[in-house]
């Protein structure tokens, strides 16, 4: 059967076929997943606060997590935002050399952070299976670790591609999205760090 007839009234062939920020489709996917994961963090924080009144002391037994590794992790995380911002700028300027350098720096920082995170687990000062405080503490650090590991992992193939393939506008846009996600990983950690390291010290 004949379809409805189409009347061409304009042309868009002069438009670019890549873009940055909300112009690009990938940005919206990243935003969606940040909203989902952000909501999970909000609810985990809510659970932490919800459980506090059930105990006489907080933490119920033993000291709060040691500040040493958690704080070192937080400082490195904050410093990583500098090269991260350079990565965004280099991507937007389509500066291949800049993108390569900043991605390699971000991978190195990511590995340092993963190592620090490993030590952080050893100084949480409570097991996950002792009480509900320990359970939510481990859950929060574990969920954040998944985000950290995911971003560090996916920066690796991205960096590799910038050395082995032609880098087109879409890849630069991917670099920008990847770096935006890093802001989410860092920003969410700042809130979580305040909660799990400082809340017990404030209320005790």
């Amino acid at each position: 059967m004949m379809s409805r007839r189409i009347d061409i009234v304009g042309d868009v062939s002069h438009l670019k076929d890549y873009g940055f920020g909300p112009t690009a489709l990938g940005w919206w996917g990243g935003l969606g997943f940040m909203l989902i994961e952000g909501m999970a963090f909000v609810l985990a924080i809510g659970t932490y606060l919800y459980l506090m009144p059930f105990e006489q002391h907080w933490p119920p037994a033993g000291p709060p997590p040691d500040l040493r590794y958690g704080t070192a992790f937080t400082i490195v995380m904050l410093l990583s935002l500098i090269p991260n911002q350079f990565a965004i700028r280099a991507a937007q300027k389509q500066d291949l050399r800049g993108v390569r350098i900043t991605l390699l720096i971000m991978i190195a920082i990511g590995i340092v952070l993963l190592v620090l995170r490993g030590f952080e687990y050893t100084t949480l000062n409570e097991r996950w299976d002792t009480n509900a405080y320990g359970s939510i503490l481990w859950a929060i650090v574990f969920i954040h670790t998944i985000h950290l590991a995911t971003d560090v992992y996916d920066t690796c193939p991205l960096a590799l591609l910038t050395f082995t393939r032609d880098v087109d506008g879409r890849k630069f846009s991917d670099v920008e999205d990847n770096a935006s996600y890093w802001y989410f990983v860092a920003g969410s950690w700042l809130v979580l760090y305040g909660l799990i390291y400082w809340m017990p010290r404030i209320v005790s």
Binding site: R4, I8, K16, D17, G32, M39, A132, S135
Partner: protein, 640 residues
Amino acid sequence: MSIEQTVNANVKPQTFSDGSPMLASTWSDAPGFWGWLTTIDHKRIGKRYIATAFVFFVLGGLLALAMRTQLIKPENGLMGPDRYNQLFSMHGTSMMFLFAVPIMEAVAVYIVPLMVGTRNIAFPRLNAFSYWVYLFGGVMIWIAFAMNVGPEAGWFSYVPLASSDFSPGKRTDFWAQMITFTEVSALAIAVELVATILKTRAPGMTLARMPLFVWSMLVTSFMVIFAMPAVMLSSSFLIADRLVGTHFYNAAEGGDALLWQHLFWFFGHPEVYIIFLPALGMVSSIVETFSRRPIFARTAMTLALIATGFFAFGLWVHHMFATGLPALGNSFYTAASMVIAIPSGVQIFAWIATIGSGRPYFATPLLFVFGFFAIFVLGGLTGVMLASVPLDLQVHDTYFVVAHFHYVLIGGAVFPLFGAFYYWFPKFTGRMLDETLGKWNFWLFFVGFNVTFFPMHYLGLIGMPRRVYTYPTGLGWDIWNLIATLGGYVIGVSVLIFIVNVVRSLRNGALAGDNPWHAPSLEWATSSPPPSYNFAAIPCVESAVPLWSSREELPALSGVREDRREILLTRATDAEPQITWGMPAPSIWPLVSSFAVTLLFIWSIFDSWGVIWGTLPLAVALTGWFWPRKDDRGLKSEKE
């Protein structure tokens, strides 16, 4: 900025109706089974999603019939309490997680890209992945059920009943992982739909001109994004309590059983509206088309959808009135539960005004809308009753509640859904469903539904609790249970007629043509079923009812490449063209990734290290998935 500024209007006038051979070859799938496995066409995925969800609907319905048969008379020995527990748990689980939410999203996966005038859904590989994960999750829980390891603690799995003390073995673990499967898939679709709706609308389709079904899916998708993390988190906490010894819900070690209820209902109440809002969008589409006039009070309708989305997050505690919460909390949630009736009421009045001032044409889709009005309004009224704490405390956990939520869910969602099947079936298949069978389908469903569920109001008021596998004689419950069971069989016959209708129409139904209902929205501007590329050129929109304009031809734009999969991206608010965008080609990696996810989830039920080691194959699969191909390159990206 107006559309004239981003579109070059100096074009040679051309008029045509079919897409070029190059367009067809660019967008077509590989032939045969390989093409079936690797397709990322939203229409093929949407159809298999709808079919799969419908299978789960029929399976869930058969469980309901088995339960009704058990309750047909007092002290019936057809099954024991353990089997009955699994039946009602699987019934609720199948209907809520495997049917209601997925089928609404499935219809949207098919319809929304067509309605907004684009060539595929945003993130089409994610869409394929979402389907496979959903399928494997559903199959897993049904296999578990068949092997006597089905869930047993109800569809909301309250602790401590669902804890390892009272639900030993793997039954509840399978349930908790089924949640993870279905929520991953639902969340993926929500992100795709948000991106599709906000970025790929046809030029000129401003937010104000967007069809109400698309609006309803936009609000629903945001609700999924904000609600579903709660159930993933709560079910992960549950499975961790059961498998690795955490104490989230263990009061002896500082946990709390009500924490489960808060987290679950923070998802569970919006869930009801996640099911209901798409149905409202379907009703708006049907009412507009069959009244043959634009919908009355469009702006108010849109605002009502948004308001419902917001209010839905402020009601969850009304499921917990019997848990002894502070009186102030109860009062707040009572008020909120009553307030949400207002936007629903606004929509009902607007539909009635549309029908009343239009020239209504009473085909089967509109009949189902009338059924929806009657049943949903009754369910809404008992909802306002249940919002009142004293009444809720009296009828909590009785058949009154069972009657109420079947009135709102079947009335509010399944009736519009059946209407939508009849309405969009010609677009899906190119053939019409039979109207006579359709009317039988409707009337048997309508009568059967009321015969089944109306007596349950009374059963609840005279004290019959829900979830009992049998009851003693002499309580005055016998006759009402008998009537309810007979009504259940009538619904079964009605669904059977629907299946017969579909099978017959697929074989030799009347050919539909592009737009058999003379509907106003863009999905009807292309052939039925649509070609792989949806539209021969990217359409432009000048009103909220584009196909009812006085133009004979569909205005459209050229300049989106045909030698590769490319779409046009437009601005979120005013749908102004911004850039073109290369889309991915078909791929096996979404399927492989879903295998890896399935391995990880099932492994973790039996060994908590599965969570760690299971990520390795997943990482490999995802790397394969995202490895760049030439399809999605920016070809115009020389540095300026």
